[in-house]
Amino acid sequence: MKRFKTTKGMIGIILLLLIALVAIVGPMVIPPDAATAMDMRARRAPPSLTHIFGTDQLGRDLMYRVILGTRTSLEIAVSAVVMSIVLGLPLGLISGYFGGFVDNVLMRLVDTLLAFPALLLALTISAVLGPNIQNTIIAIGVAFTPYLARIIRGEALRVAQMPYVEAARSAGTTDLMIMWRHVLPNILPAVIVQGTISLAFAILAEAGLSFLGLGTQPPAASWGLMIQASRDQLDIAPWTALVPGLAVALTVLGLNMFGDVLRDILDPRSK
């Protein structure tokens, strides 16, 4: 745990704790209709004591909306990454462990999927399924799966050649058992690191999808949607873009810093 005590690690952890706190506690403590209440006399009000982050084009308080957006973003990002791990883990594990023909076929498919830019794949899936929160999760989850599968396969390949795996095999342990007891625990650190880094990308992807109108739909609060709405009022109310932009930036920054430190600790080879 000592290595977390670098400046970078500390900043990352503090940022993440803060954001998690906002996402979990925030929606519980703010007044129920605070984020949707429109104050028509205070439309596009700059940051002040009554509205700390200012208000948007409908006079809604930006601080409350950013807080609700935190929950939306994290919910989508976490679900999407979990989904990509659930899909990518068996793919990569089987491919890397068995190798040979199975590996060839699976990785050919994964490589094909990697030719599709993740954002394009996510946008297309979301557009075809019809944009809403659930489909945004599916879209990002599927789009990230090939990346996860690739990395997990590489790790599984490495572990499958270890002497202890060979020993287990010669002792007559079944493949399934070896994968479960020996391979999986040893690739878990890499999966955790990749998952953390993927979270950062998922936050960006959700913001991008919502920004383009193919992610979270209004009236739900989402950072991407808020930035989208700010486009037409940049000159008169730049804070409507800066507030949600900063929220995305801090979250992704926190995840990236935390991910970097986590990688140094869990995956010593990457140093």
Partner: protein, 313 residues
């Protein structure tokens, strides 16, 4: 020769797989193309007739065959929203996007390589911190947010560049570049981070090697050692990573071109997705994936040319 043949076969196979994936993804939930063309209020008989003539009642496999067969023979179908042949549309928009992709790559490399070298030379000093912090900032902001900042600062406040639109390069090439600059800069800043890190780590490895010590011992100027000796060896991996970022770039141009109203491939893809123009979605998605795949291949081959130590096997 065998290597080239193998690569070629693998390219054809991958292209085929790309068509399969594209078709599968766009047909998960077959939105009714006929209804999209005629509107929801049109009469059922006319709809049924149109469905029949478009081949929508055929089994999926037959539809897939038609689509791929059409693409091979040059008939890519018509866009539902633009009412134009898709191939023509794509050909028009491709050049615009090529300009943005090339420009953002140049901007990213021009920023990342010196920054990475600077960090590697002054490893673990303040210069290194500045470099890695700015790289981290680069990846942490969504690229469309960079785009909005660019519009705010360079278009609205300073008025140096137009905030949106596209100019035909045949009419006014300088105008095209002016319109492409801000979106490219925004993309380049997002791209830069990864390349800076790569340059730094490759350079660090190389600066620790014997031949660098020899070069220094010979009394060569430090500038020559770093730029001529070390960087020449580090640039290969950096270019490879840059090439692999093409995929990321093609995802990002969808956002960036839409934000800047720059009518290229990304903008076209977005219009297709937003309006659920299924034939156009299929073609743009296919073309983008194919371009990404071919660029990666080109980078592989380029790497062999740059670094003679790599043997074709």
């Amino acid at each position: 020769m065998t290597y080239v043949l193998n690569r070629l076969l693998s390219v054809i196979l991958t292209l085929f797989l790309i068509t399969l994936v594209t078709f599968a993804v766009t047909n998960i939930l077959p939105g009714d193309v006929a209804m999209m063309i005629m509107g929801t209020q049109s009469n059922p008989e006319a709809l049924a007739g149109l469905r029949e003539s478009l081949g929508l009642n055929d089994p999926l496999l037959v539809q897939y065959g038609h689509w791929v067969g059409g693409m091979i023979s040059g008939d890519w179908g018509n866009s539902l929203i633009f009412k134009k042949p898709i191939f023509e549309l794509l050909a028009q928009k491709a050049a615009a996007s090529a300009i943005i992709v090339a420009m953002s790559m140049i901007i990213a490399l021009a920023l990342a390589v010196p920054l990475g070298v600077w960090a590697a030379v002054h490893r673990d000093k303040w210069q290194d911190t500045v470099s890695s912090t700015s790289a981290l900032m680069g990846v942490s902001l969504p690229d469309f947010f960079w785009g909005i900042l660019m519009i705010l600062v360079f278009a609205r406040w300073l008025g140096w560049f137009p905030s949106s639109g596209f100019v035909d390069p045949a009419e006014n090439f300088l105008g095209t570049l002016r319109h492409a600059f801000l979106p490219s800069l925004a993309l380049g800043l997002g791209l830069m981070a990864h390349l800076t890190r790569m340059t730094r780590s490759t350079m660090t490895g190389i600066l620790n090697q014997e031949f660098i010590r020899v070069a220094r011992a010979k009394g060569l100027a430090e500038r020559t050692v770093i730029w001529r000796y070390a960087l020449a060896n580090a640039i290969g991996p950096v270019i490879t990573i840059a090439g692999l970022q093409i995929g990321y770039l093609f995802g990002s141009i969808i956002v960036m071109e839409s934000l800047f109203g720059y009518t290229g491939m990304g903008w076209l893809t977005y219009q297709a997705l937003l309006n659920r123009d299924l034939p156009l979605i299929q073609s743009t998605v296919f073309v983008i994936a194919a371009v990404v795949m071919l660029t990666n291949l080109a980078v592989d081959l380029l790497y062999v040319v740059i670094d003679p130590r790599i043997r074709l096997g």
